[in-house]
């Protein structure tokens, strides 16, 4: 991948993380039912973590000599949701982020880009942990 392609990919991941943070916020604010007591805090915690991930991506882009670009298109409806549905959406979003980091890892591994490879590997580990934690919550 060229320098430009690396930056484009990192900006894409930045959009994934920022969108995810807004989704978490929205889910935390729209979740209803008794389980809200438990799930709202989990969703808010995940929101903070996705913002941290976005910060790491932005730093990485700066380290590569560019400025981060934020381009997101998101419309979240004014609909209440259940805890189960909110967690299912959260798993879907985390799996998508995991896949995106895996794709980055695969690309940078092939080209021997050690800096990005280490970064991508660490993010894959983090996202895998998130997915597993959320999947545990959804187990019957």
């Amino acid at each position: 991948m060229s320098h430009e392609e690396n930056i484009e990919r990192l900006n894409g991941l930045l959009a994934e993380e920022l969108e995810a943070s807004l989704r978490y916020f929205h889910l935390a604010m729209t979740v209803r039912g008794m389980d809200r007591l438990l799930v709202k805090d989990i969703l808010m915690e995940n929101m903070k973590e996705t913002v941290e991930h976005a910060g790491m991506l932005a730093e990485k882009i700066l380290q590569l000599g560019e400025a981060p670009k934020i381009e997101i298109k998101l419309e979240l409806p004014a609909e209440k949701t259940t805890a189960q549905e909110a967690l299912r959406t959260a798993v879907t979003v985390e799996r998508a982020a995991l896949e995106a980091y895996r794709e980055l890892l695969e690309k940078v591994e092939k080209e021997g880009n050690v800096v990005l490879e280490e970064f991508a590997r660490a993010q894959v580990a983090l996202e895998s942990e998130h997915v597993s934690e959320l999947e545990l919550l959804l187990e019957e």
Binding site: I72, K73, E75, T92, V93, A96, A100
Partner: protein
């Protein structure tokens, strides 16, 4: 029920329509479709595509195999095909018959392609069929339209123009002024 409320209950949202058509296009062009391909084609994040596709899978319109390749169910394929055809029909009418700028026609078509009824799309396609038939009546119709003074260009910024006041316009049934 008022029409605007029916919009809210439309089984296919604007976003869902784009996802179904994107899968159909990818399957036709490449023979496969993955979440990442849909996201790239629609220029959205993988997360957004995944969440919308999750809803479409739950509704049985999109299917995903063990290797995470996407496909359309019979109903999903039918909806995607209907939207694609409606898009082309309405676009053709806007550009070829009404003389709307092609880029504006793209925007307007995108807004209605998943909302316009089969009945309306069918009537429009029959009108286009007549106009494209080459029949002398069709040619005469187009010629008369082009000669008509009121057909000449107007500034869209001035809409509604004074000419419209003289028209006998039909009030849509079920229209509710409170909306």
């Amino acid at each position: 029920m008022e029409t605007w409320k029916e919009f809210e209950q439309n089984p296919i949202t604007h976003s869902a329509a784009h996802h179904l058509v994107a899968i159909a296009e990818l399957l036709e062009d490449r023979g496969y479709a993955r979440v990442s391909d849909v996201a790239r084609l629609l220029e959205i994040t993988r997360g957004s595509a995944s969440v919308t596709l999750k809803g479409l899978k739950q509704r049985g319109l999109v299917i995903e195999d063990d290797r995470r390749f996407l496909g359309l169910s019979e109903e999903g394929a039918q909806i995607a095909s209907g939207i694609s055809v409606k898009k082309r029909v309405m676009h053709t009418m806007f550009v070829d018959l009404l003389g709307v700028d092609a880029r504006q026609a793209d925007v307007d078509t995108c807004k209605i392609e998943h909302l316009v009824s089969n009945e309306t799309a069918d009537r429009v396609s029959r009108l286009l069929s007549f106009l494209q038939s080459g029949a002398s009546e069709a040619r005469a119709f187009v010629a008369a339209l082009e000669k008509f003074d009121g057909w000449k260009e107007h500034d869209p910024a001035e809409f509604p123009s004074k000419d419209i006041e003289s028209l006998e316009l039909r009030e849509p049934e079920g229209h509710d002024d409170s909306n």
